[in-house]
Symmetry: C2
Subunit: 154 residues, 2 copies
Amino acid sequence: MTKKDKHGDIRRELSVGEVAARSGVAVSTLHFYETKGLIHSLRNRGNQRRYPRGVLRRVAVIKVAQRTGIPLADIQAALAALPHDRPLTVHDWAALSERWRASLTERIEKLTALRDQLTSCIGCGCLSMEDCPLRNPYDTLNARGAGPQLIEPT
Amino acid sequence: MTKKDKHGDIRRELSVGEVAARSGVAVSTLHFYETKGLIHSLRNRGNQRRYPRGVLRRVAVIKVAQRTGIPLADIQAALAALPHDRPLTVHDWAALSERWRASLTERIEKLTALRDQLTSCIGCGCLSMEDCPLRNPYDTLNARGAGPQLIEPT
DNA sequence: ATAAAACCTCAACTATAGTTGAGGTCAATA
DNA sequence: TATTGACCTCAACTATAGTTGAGGTTTTAT
């Protein structure tokens, strides 16, 4: 027999509870990720989810991406661009993490610039919409007339 | 008369629309901030909000704090600790911004550490719960037994 | 004086990222 | 076999940070 029992090594299908235990993610979160298309499962005859072992890597990748501040929808899009339900390869991971590292770098740079401005404004405190770089980071005022002016259009 | 008309310089009370236009924040947001205790207003005989000019600085401070990633509830708490409805002084601002700068620095450091880990893991791709620093940033596994293990207890 | 613009409250809705619970089924163990 | 634990779906709820709209009032401008 090539298929061992529940506690054997070879079995490749995991239940949702096992994935939860091994990945550190709640069962409800795994359900949620599935509704969002971040992970996929098959069902056994009793309609219970059975995951290929590769789901563990997928969840790991999702969690790392989240730590870098990537929204789930973006993570989903990135994963969906890959052939889904072949397990993620090291090469996939390298490509994804390279992208996310770059966006993380960008975020770090923005926050660092903000901190520098904050540092230089601590003694000033003007916070003037027109003059203060903290309040008017893109120098957009006076380009338009009066009226509400969004500072962070993002 | 010491009180000039709507377009004069001396008037110190602002309507919600004026505050919106001058601060770059939507009227609905100002209402919302008021329900959260972040800003305060008086009412005229017609029940319309009238703001002291100091509200502009308050809103500016709120917006800067938000940019550094501070949640509104924390901003509220910080502002509430100050004598409220005397306008914020430069000294107030210095104390607040110093705190927020420190927390921003902390965030930057965490993100930088994450990026460094990401960089060193790009070529590896193990993402093992036990071995990978990305997956187990606090080295908490194996301290407990089996079972679900939250990676980011926050 | 009248019409338009600005204001009021309150409830409901948006988005993100899930969690909780009800009511019912399936699977592993004694 | 029976019971317990794990699983199922679906709806509702949490939190954060607001936005939108309905229905009605006040202020401003002509």
